[in-house]
């Protein structure tokens, strides 16, 4: 079983649109939506029917027992995350800033602080017309999204093994931080989707550096290349000079908006301009992955 991750440094370049279309082109895939801050893949694989949901516990959080607290303030002075504030007449934990490191627990002379479990989100196994979709939602405001991504990856893998799937298609998180790197860790191949804008170019370079550092094999897709053909050709030249595989370019296509509104991947619109470009990208990827 092969794993492919679709990522992008910059958000909104078309990861989910491409992921959903590839899900329809591969014969026997498991879909894995790892963009847990903004999970959208299920919106293009409808109807999605929830089969099972699992709780995700993230890092713990500190909690003060005010029966024991003497307002000495040692916790506030030692916390390195500025997560303890003095409000009105007492010390309070800022749960958004608390990283659950336990330093305050260990330094409190009254043993008035403990760490408590924290339900940070859920992940799900769902049924879609193209097979199993594993996805999740991090509760807004939570940390450790990389941890939830890792759980989704594990679940996708065991589902794939059990059902003898050929490929896991991972719709990754944007950026270069922990959710993004957890989405691509250990995959067979990554696709970076970029766009011909100065921002897209800038973010592509940082995504490429990240993947090189992680030693992940990858190629690049330029989406909406005709919105600015001159930036697009600089992107192409840069990829060539860096010896990076350019898997293909996809033109701007108004049908994509329509397809999204109708909750379908663009590949199902056979007359659309972009679908034939996506098919040729698919062929290149399957050649790379399966030598066919």
């Amino acid at each position: 079983m092969k794993q492919i991750a679709i990522i992008s440094g910059k958000g909104g370049t078309g990861k989910t649109t491409l992921s959903a279309s590839l899900s329809y082109l591969f014969q026997n895939p498991v879909m894995s939506d790892c963009d847990v801050d903004a999970s959208n893949l299920h919106l293009l694989l409808s109807p999605v029917e929830l089969k099972q949901s699992y709780e995700y516990y993230g890092g713990k959080k500190a909690e003060i027992d005010y029966e024991k607290c003497t307002n000495c303030g040692i916790c506030k002075d030692t916390c390195r995350f500025e997560a303890i504030d003095f409000q009105q007449d007492k010390y309070v934990i800022n749960e958004y800033a608390c990283e659950g490191c336990k330093l305050c627990v260990l330094t409190c002379p009254e043993k008035a602080i403990k760490l408590v479990e924290n339900l940070a989100g859920y992940y799900y196994e769902s049924k879609s017309p193209k097979g199993v979709l594993v996805h999740g939602d991090l509760n807004p405001g939570e940390e450790t999204s990389g941890g939830l991504v890792a759980e989704i990856r594990k679940k996708s893998f065991s589902v794939g093994e059990n059902l003898k799937k050929d490929v896991i298609i991972i719709d990754g998180a944007p950026g270069i931080g922990c959710p993004a790197t957890s989405s691509v860790a250990g995959v067979n191949y990554a696709i970076i989707v970029t766009e011909p804008t100065l921002s897209g170019f800038h973010d592509l370079q940082r995504a490429v550096e990240t993947l090189k550092k992680m030693r992940v094999k990858f190629g690049v897709v330029i989406n909406k290349f005709d919105l600015n053909e001159s930036v697009s050709s600089s992107l192409e030249e840069w990829c060539f000079s860096e010896n990076i595989d350019l898997l293909g370019k996809i033109p701007f296509d108004e049908m994509v908006n329509l397809a999204t509104r109708e909750a379908k991947p663009i590949i199902l619109y056979e007359d659309s301009i972009s679908s034939k470009y996506i098919k040729s990208i698919y062929q290149k990827i399957s050649q790379i992955l399966f030598n066919k």
């Binding site: 910059k10 903004a38 336990k102 405001g141 939570e142 940390e143 990389g146 100065l198 550092k213 908006n257």
Partner: protein, 297 residues
């Protein structure tokens, strides 16, 4: 268009408004709103623009920035003294992040998992753990031709930019009439760090089911943090009526709509400010600020 102030017995106090620009979904136009709003406001206000999308900052691509200051943001990571370590394993048991491991032959620190909290050095019974700084990224601060500008940049391979955002926000001061903070996408910890102690949140979305789905997540976050907010629809498309229907139904203030236009996409792609290209867009950004102050008041 003027800065916000309140009148007290001591006279007028500048409110020094802090506005965060965010979006659940990436690529909806946070950078467009941030960079153009900053330009428009700088005409008669003292403005600070902070690019807090430290994984992929882009605001600087739209301005000539003269950077005057650059400093590293460090985290303190453990350094174990082999001579004194008795391999008791207490550090590994207490570390909440799995960042320090003790084996028969020694101690291994996984730097990328370390949050720099200091627990291991604090609890080591033989004081065998010192700490040394490791750079997570950097802050750059300077000026554009119109306003002050700061940005953070996470080093490649580092997992989290939260600490960089926290340090970046220390450039905020009452000297500015208004501070605009361009947030990273999503709704998790880096976005929360941006939202701490801001006065107003502008949620940028787009006319699509993705935009609406992720907007709802962003709304639940700002509601939970009790931050006043309003919505900007970018690439507005009347064919997707659910979005405006939702806003009307929930009585959520719509601050501005930017129609979908290939010209705008082209200007953005070239690093041009759209308010410099079109009088109409300039006026709608002026109106955006008026709407923000109205909702805020």
């Amino acid at each position: 268009m003027h800065h916000m102030y309140i009148t007290t017995v001591e006279g007028e106090i500048n409110l020094s408004l802090k506005i965060a620009i965010l979006s659940g979904k990436g690529g909806t136009g946070k950078t467009t709103v941030s960079t153009n709003l900053a330009k428009v406001l700088s005409k008669n206000m003292k403005v600070l623009l902070l690019d807090a999308d430290v994984e992929e900052p882009n605001d600087h691509l739209f301005y000539n920035v003269t950077f005057e200051e650059e400093k590293s943001v460090d985290v303190l990571i453990p350094k174990v003294n082999k001579e004194t370590c008795i391999l008791c394993g207490l550090c590994a048991r207490e570390c909440q992040f799995g960042a320090i491991n003790v084996f028969e032959k020694g101690v291994l620190v996984f730097q990328n998992l370390c949050h720099g909290c200091g627990v291991c050095s604090k609890i080591c019974p033989v004081r065998a753990i010192d700490e040394e700084p490791k750079s997570l990224g950097k802050l750059k601060f300077g000026k554009t031709d119109f306003f002050d500008f700061g940005m953070g940049l996470l080093n490649i391979g580092e997992p989290s930019g939260v600490r960089i955002i926290r340090e970046l926000k220390k450039y905020i001061s009452d000297d500015y009439d208004v501070t605009i903070i361009d947030a990273p996408p999503g709704t998790s910890c880096p976005v929360v760090e941006v939202l701490q102690k801001v006065d107003f949140a502008v949620l940028v979305t787009e006319s699509s089911p993705f935009g609406l789905h992720d907007l709802k997540l962003a709304i639940s976050l700002v509601k939970e943090m009790e931050i006043p907010y309003g919505v900007v629809i970018n690439r507005y498309d009347p064919a997707f009526a659910e979005l405006t229907k939702y806003l009307e139904g929930e009585k959520i203030p719509l601050l501005m709509k930017i129609d979908f236009d290939k010209k705008i996409a082209k200007w953005y792609s070239e690093g041009k400010l759209i308010v410099d290209q079109s009088e109409e867009l300039l006026r709608s950004f002026e109106l955006l600020y008026e709407n923000i102050t109205e909702v805020f008041a």
